[in-house]
Subunit: 342 residues, 4 copies
């Protein structure tokens, strides 16, 4: 059986990445693509790397006939996403890649995103889309909220440790380095090649990054008490890839074993041998997340490092993994592509 | 039916790329991997991006039992390749990725590669591996010689034009720009990041590049008379990708139509609309080659531009495409992966 | 004696580059900086790499008191430049970095830039700013028109050859590769890091690039008859640097000797030994232009390759070199900085 | 008066950087350059970006006549450096860029560098070359030991804070990102462009990096008690630049004021306004170090970020700054070059 898929907001990087992945999916067919400003264009003109595919023309959302659509990927900006999703026929399954349905506490949403939530009734049914930890809920969900790409990376390093109660919850630092595609295809001076290549810098330092809202929500829920981490993202001169260097207090061997046990049956989480650590280059273009653990020379301190591709495992690959579950397909369908190196 | 595959020289970039592609191939199984200096290691230690795969351990060639091997990919350096292939059981099909069997004239081989050919008897049965132009011969071959990556790019731009007799054969210039992975994983000062990033330079200028031997052989064969082109490769600060800007004398519209007709049924050659031209970014990680044609402001002059990924369509993807034909499989099996962008 | 300098349009890359160079100039003092949209800001906030300098605040042009200004660098967009310069006090010397005064034929200006020239009376006194070939005129000029960066590179490779009559004037091809800073700090999708890194593509193919107007004007003037070249620029994943690979018909040794003789006393043109050729990396951040000559394997064909930094020798360095002449200073003052490598 | 300078080990990146800086120094003349394997070559052939300079030919160290040499920059590998420096005439001043004389405790040297020190008598007179903190000693020294580039960056962020006793000495984490030129021009697989571009990874995780020996020595000396920090370096796809993100416990405003006071008269340390933080791009090619301070959302936690160019302020620029002091010149001579951006 082939599932009919619509992608809303197909002219951004996450939309294009969804199409790349679905192109070799055995049981999905893309039947509609929307892009507001680029409506009327062919996808191959907006993203020439997809020229070889036969794809529907880009249209405005209003022009889509949703009658036979089984699942919608919504790759629109936050705030827009809410407004669009609440108008969709309620029988359609939805995977939202925006931030709109990630935060269960509506006050937190308003605090971090600067305006009230406009679809609070939908928030109630939304499931947080970190597949490895919400698998059953996602399988049964109608609406799944894709996680932040940085939030996913940090959680893969930390959730099992917090759950196991083996690290100091008040002393967690996530120093994260990310490629630039996470910022999307937007026209901003700080995303120009001339402003980014051959260097690095931190941004949103000191607790200003919105993905902290996800860390706060998820880590506190896992711990059963409030947990606040420090989080400093840095921008790399690279398009894809996130590496999170996480500093914790706890025994390195216990930490490694806890993570290895937690992930031993996960198809996409690759646990490295103790003492080894990952590189963004080795997950690029794939849905894999590599996790490594190293003990510090100071006893009782451990460094956990996780790496994934922000557009794949951090966003569109995760979305497809969730869609597979929601549609009753093999969770890994269309997602076993090996990373592209070099 | 599953074909049993061995890859010799698996510790280089083309070996790794073969494994990446075969990882999702429906009817191939890798049963042996060789790597001389890295024998005894796991592939995931040599190339951590392949860590998620179950692969045979790297061994020396002598340790491989070829009894049940159906096809060998030989990704060894030239000269070594000859010596190894002539010792293989004669029933095994071979796709060689080195330069050893590309040149039908043994004197040309000696001239360009600096030593006599050591397996002249095998040269006689080798088929030149440019799939789109040698498809029938490849399907029937036991030994196929993969082309040079630059040689493939230039030929996709030019062969149909030379065959059709619509361009001046004495006035062809190929100005080519290539990523660095074509030079392999070798330890050379000029391949260091610090020597390459943020700049560009020509190399092998004036007729010194060995892929000229392939241009000479193939273009002369197609034309039925000697053809010598000018060819200047340049090194880009990029890992994958070749773009060849080809200057010819001939009518641009006729040239575009001739190429479009030649490639209209080709699954991997994407002909762009007249006046458009390709980018290496839009073929990265894929087996596609994009070809564009633009007329110059000077009447009777045309620029043909072709772009492909040197490791995929220019090398390992081409090799797999040929292997599919040799094994009676669908030519596109394992090769329809969309390019990775951005 | 210290010359008082104003820079109009200081918030772009060429403006910042002028400040970088003037920072160590022995006899220039920057007394005014304009930037329309960023008026009121400190230069160190617009360009943090200049934070260590004491510089005037950015203001609107109308706010500048030009009474004591000796020379103005005008780094404004074309069309705007004309309008501004014609309002400046006529005693002030002006180096214009835009395209507005490069073309002596006003009809050519209108053809290439799409609107009539608004300061035709000034065009009459403007001197084309390719220092090495207009040195005397520049020394005496009030208004000097900086050249296009690509136009400068191509001319360094070709002017002495055209003047000497030793190459075929109807068979010149300039295949040029340029870094992205030449496009300025403008918000365009095709200048984003994610759209540019790790690849290359041609643009303005077939005779569409405006710098062709300069090639046409200058080469025809040197030859004494119309000369039209082919010119294909390519965009590199690099910020600075242009390398022009120029294909000509003529004797390589004669060509090398002609260029070497032409440049033997030039402080900024470095002629490489016969058979060697340059890299953009070896001129980065400097006012030097490296020129090399290689003979092709086809007799009578020669490749001339020139490399320079588009922001320095191709733009702001050239502008300062011209300003030095106009002010009676040593032509090399502030410009002998060695290239930055790696 | 012109000082006669010899550079030993001139064929590496730090040697080339010294020449770049000295090229515009008002009172230094390079009279000898050594390079063991490249003896007999011209510097312009080893580093074509220096082609425009008249420089002595590369020779072996034994061939240098040190009679009239005033100061030697020793840019040799560690261990080699000791052996060479102890043979130099004792009247010659020496700035060593290797690790050989950085550690006052010879046992620490042996522990971190794996072999006994071979010139212990010289270690006694060596001064640690962090100019801003050892200025008087350096002015009087015959032998100055250049610091590690990472060690310098971390110390600029931390020394005044440790001296002032305003941060928790047991809770310091330095998460550092560095360009690749710090590893030199050595032929290692992990320095190839194809292994580095478009990604990032940590290395020497958990306390394995040799620059920790300098942190231990210096911070403990400043604090008057043992101080051990955590330090994780990461490799960036960039040639130049280090940014250190330092996590401390202490009041952010007090920390900012302490650093601002400490550096208010320093010509090369640029303190950013509270809440701002630096980028490697804004110091590239210069001797400046930018330092910023941001308070975390968790009270009592502060992030200090320092950025510098590893080849300039982190190595050759620091060396020249020290040499200026040792020779009685203005400390900033030859070093006021503005950063190169973009």
């Amino acid at each position: 059986m082939t599932h009919k898929i619509a992608i809303l907001g197909a002219s951004g990087y996450t939309g294009a990445e969804l199409i790349r992945l679905i192109a070799t999916h055995p049981s999905m067919e893309i039947t509609a693509l929307s892009a507001d400003r680029k409506a009327g264009m062919q996808m191959g003109d907006v993203f020439p790397h997809l020229r070889h595919l036969s794809l529907p023309k880009l249209v405005k959302i209003d022009e889509i006939d949703f009658t036979h659509v089984d699942l919608v990927f919504c790759a629109l900006p936050h705030a827009t996403s809410q407004a669009v999703i609440k108008k969709l026929p309620s029988k359609i399954k939805v995977v939202d890649l925006s931030a709109d349905f990630r935060l269960r506490d509506l006050a937190e949403y308003e605090k971090w995103y600067g305006k009230p939530h406009s679809a609070p009734e939908l928030q109630g049914e939304a499931v947080y889309g970190l597949t490895e930890f919400y698998r059953d809920d996602i399988s049964a969900a109608r609406l799944v909220a894709g996680t932040g790409c940085n939030a996913a990376t940090g959680q893969f390093a930390l959730r099992p440790l917090i759950a196991a109660g083996i690290i100091d919850l008040d002393e967690i630092i996530i120093d994260l380095k990310t490629g630039v595609s996470g910022a999307g295809r937007s026209l901003k001076e700080n995303l120009l090649h001339a402003e980014l290549s051959e260097g690095a810098h931190a941004y949103a330092v000191g607790g200003a990054h919105r993905h902290l809202a996800e860390f706060d929500q998820e880590f506190s829920a896992v711990a059963g008490r409030p947990v606040k981490v420090q989080f400093t993202p840095h921008l790399l001169p690279a398009n894809r890839g996130i590496v999170a260097t996480v500093y914790v207090k706890g025994d390195p061997k216990v930490i490694h074993k806890t993570l290895a046990d937690a992930y031993k049956n996960e198809p996409f989480i690759v646990m490295l041998p103790f003492g080894e650590h990952p590189s963004t280059r080795h997950v690029r273009g794939s849905n894999f997340c590599h996790v490594g653990v190293v003990g510090d020379r100071i006893a009782g301190r451990t460094i956990v490092i996780a790496a994934l591709d922000n557009l794949t495992k951090g966003s569109s690959g995760q979305a497809l993994q969730n869609a597979n579950l929601m549609l009753g397909e093999d969770e890994t369908a269309g997602l076993m592509l090996a990373p592209v190196f070099p």
